[in-house]
Symmetry: D2
Subunit: 335 residues, 4 copies
């Protein structure tokens, strides 16, 4: 049984408390928050959890194995570093840190102390992403051509981060997991319509080797909610519509083939091929449940977690590059 | 009655022949094509039309008022220039020319000789675009924030132009018509997966003054057909789904407003507002019929056409800039 | 503050416990169930609630105002009658009773003792139904022509009731609330594919005065989930798609008009008219919250509840008629 | 080469003329219509076709093999009978005749004279219906449970027939072709909202042996266009959405299975099973082209057509029964 503490129970933290509590492998002993009323709220639901407004006090508890950090992003580094130095495994909300350099430092400390870092990229544990990964890995799609993700809706504006730091960590973590290779560079554009310096709409292209192109559109100002990802390979193509109530993933037996044409002036030489489409049944297990199990198993068996510090670092690295590119109106930034 | 000739009756030309023939205001007297079999095909359908494999012969006919140029893009300039110099009005397939410089030269000649140039941006004449233009012009959307257009499907690959020269002229012409202002610069990315130097997927951001951002995604390799445009303003937002059989345009009474929050740490200050949505009834007149009527009326009354040479030039100008930016991996190119 | 007890906390009862607990106007003091483990489950969540496996014991408590009956349908009558005779208001799960005669007896007892009966027709309290009621009442649709409701999915089969007793109470209660008139007769068809005498698919037509026709399709064996209702009037038509994530209710400015045709042999005299469509913004309050508030207010102010015993009786009356008609292969049964 | 004549070129006849003209196997020599202007219209398009306002004159031509009857339904019998008696094969618009007795008489005459009757049930030749037939025949769906078809839109009202005679021939012909067995009885309901005695909305249940239930909803007064058919079998289920631009047929690996439950009071014994879904690629050949080829092949090779007089008779038989049942408010009528 992993003994855990959660630091930060404001907006998202209570979900982590709930999921860790429900996990048969994790026991939450402590929670911390700067606001006493948030701790009172938690205690109303979970009377057995001990609380403190001082996170350092909690980190110092010897019985704790794992510190979950659910505070604002700019505080992740300080808290996680202190936890690692105190010999605790660390679970971090996404994005992992404010800078890639911070992420690297945490990774180094963890390696030196043989501790694990987990980052809360929950989508990696959904049935949809697991199935698409399986389809790609099996070779069913063939060599990948592009990854195109749209995540737009009329959203709550964040007051301290822009739309890419808010929404794109989902898409980048999924992209990195599915494509499985190291990106070359990023170019991004965006606009801030409220004059507070925080983009509310952004487009990001990520160049991968072998002509693989990735693109992410995030937007807080769309009248309609779209959560759609297209992934095309040489042999087949996949569409993931996360809004669809039942048929989220579709695999199309569609592709391009070269055809010899007699009439070369009016006809083209490259034509498309189209066959059946299928929607695979997806694993219905709740993603957060799977994630908690993976965390517990990874600590207990000392194996690499599915989403480790490197995955978290990659997300921050690409966010940083995109941010820099947006400010320079699409300038290519190496990753 | 306008007397017209059509040059080029390969892939698209027959549609122009059909629509001009059906117009009560236009009479087609001649067709030209390099291939005799295409002319025979036209004569099978329209026995009264005279044909020639020599386009110069047709341009020289004194009774002709209007020359429609439906040949491959790289030949537009030469044919159109000769037609203008012979004193004929000119109707050009989109994109108007291969370079913006060519478009400028044609515009100059036409102005000197008091002739009209028409460019076949058919979407401008659809009920959907007319309605959206009306909604924007009336101020119903408020100041515009962004224009986002997606035009993807598994398409016929062109053997001489890439996906932006093939598909984006639709989106650019619509964008230019609806936004009504002059763009500042373009940044674009894309990839060529078949190794022939022609991008099959491309993303283009167009910067406009006043923080108005436009983005166009064109793609020949999508397993699903998407033709969707989001246009958001300060007051309302519009969605145009051209695939929807009956409800193509939706106007959402949605927007962003600043709200004072008591709990400033966990809540944001900017929230969204949401009200009714409506689908306006659209004018059901066929776009090409309207377009032909506008051409005839423009010549007969000597008034500016709805889609003139400047509109055609703008499309080519942006295509050129996007092309340059794609090759330089997203470098900003001034328009 | 209304003091309540819940009898039956198996499948649906815990939801009632949760909603009554969350209501600022209702206080749950007792729960009863035949199975001790269900009571233990409730006590795990709500330690303050007292429990008993003997419902009679709870009904006899003098401090209780309201008894909620969430047991299997065939036990509703006995429990509710005892509660009414003990001077308690009664809230009944739908359908209210197994027979219309039982419903009538309960209504009579309640009237004699000046007690209230509430039936859990939750849909009446949704934003969608409230809006449609408003649109109909305002005369916007004009005289009503038909009501067509489809409620199908691959559902959990019930072991003691057929698909109409399981699903159609939703549609019938909505229909009765929206149409507001007394039906004349019912004809229904159905089939039992598992050989247990319980129909898994059923179609029901309900005849109303003035040529108003209602039809309900319920089905446990549909591969797709459909929850769609069409309501057409002389002036406008409404569509309610309860599966749509955001645009559940659509009002179409569509109708029929008589047109004089010159060419009477090939053209018809009656044509359709089509205008804008709009999706009204719906009240987002949770239906169960509204329902609880209505119950408390009705008891405290001694006013007629929105869903009273007569509404519950009408549902059972139509279910009975439909059942009889199904067994007689569509024979018309007077209501 | 089959030599054909078309009688009736008002509303639908010109489509038959066009398709027969385009067929490499059929040559149209004559057309007839009571109105000279319709014949002039045909001659404008097809100058080689000879015309007459007297259909008897055309039937008597010895060189004609096939008479296509595209006149109003109430005239089908007289014209077709005269054509058969003159030794011609007959192609009839749907519905075949006004009464089943008339259809029987035509079938008898055709058999005696060894002539063929074809009925224009075009949907039988679509890729969607061919694929569903293949899936059913292969046993993939298992024993059939139900067939549910909805065909509703805001339609042109017919001035001489009600909505079932107008729309249901499509559904009935498809149902008969797919289910392949003989129905037992029909019960139907409907309403006439314009007071002309012609129902504009109708529901029809058709009982088949072995608990197979079919239902057809036809409606001229729906604000939305729905063309959807559900077909469920013991093993799998199919959905045909004819409005979907690309994925018309879906095969769901879903069904019902009996599960032993430990907790028999709160859980049911029968649960659903759900697996992958697939959309088979459909044959894209135009249905009318296939139909014409089948007609020509059937005459030339003297084999049974895919849609013969018996198929046409079955449609009329069920329409008659439904009509009788509607007038008797759902009374079961034996077929």
């Amino acid at each position: 049984m992993i003994k855990a503490a959660v630091i930060g129970v404001g907006y998202w933290g209570p979900n982590i408390v709930r999921n860790m509590s429900a996990s048969p492998d994790i026991d939450i002993l402590y929670c911390s928050d700067l606001q006493q009323e948030r701790l009172d709220y938690i205690n109303g639901l979970y009377p057995a959890i001990k609380t403190s407004t001082n996170f350092k006090e909690i980190i110092s508890k010897p019985e704790i194995d794992l510190i979950a950090v659910c505070t604002p992003v700019y505080t992740h580094f300080e808290i996680a570093k202190e936890a690692l130095l105190a010999g605790k495994h660390v679970f971090l909300e996404k994005p992992m840190t404010s800078t890639a350099a911070q992420a690297e430092e945490l990774i180094n400390i963890a390696e030196q102390k043989n501790l694990k870092i987990f980052v809360d990229h929950t989508f990696i544990f959904t049935g949809a992403v697991k199935k698409i990964k399986e389809v790609i890995t099996s070779g069913e799609l063939g060599d990948l051509y592009y990854f195109d993700s749209v995540r737009v809706n009329l959203g709550l504006f964040q007051h301290d981060i822009n739309v890419i730091w808010d929404l794109a960590p989902h898409d980048i973590s999924i992209m990195h997991y599915l494509l499985g290779s190291y990106p070359e560079s990023v170019t991004a554009t965006g606009a801030d319509h409220l004059g507070n310096g925080l983009e509310d709409i952004a487009y990001m292209t990520v160049y991968y080797p072998n002509n693989l192109l990735a693109h992410i559109h995030t937007n807080w100002m769309s009248p309609v909610k779209i959560r759609q990802t297209l992934i095309a390979g040489k042999k087949k193509m996949a569409v993931w519509d996360d809004n669809h109530p039942s048929e989220k993933v579709r695999i199309y037996d569609k592709g391009i083939e070269v055809v010899q044409s007699k009439d070369q002036i009016y006809k083209t030489l490259i034509q498309y091929r189209t066959g059946d489409m299928y929607c695979p049944k997806l694993d219905g297990t709740e993603a957060l449940k799977d994630e908690m199990a993976n965390i517990a198993y990874s600590i207990e068996s000392d194996i690499k977690p599915l989403v480790d510090g490197h995955a978290g670092w990659m997300v921050v690295k690409i966010l940083e590059a995109a941010q820099e590119s947006i400010k320079a109106r699409g300038k290519e930034v190496k990753v």
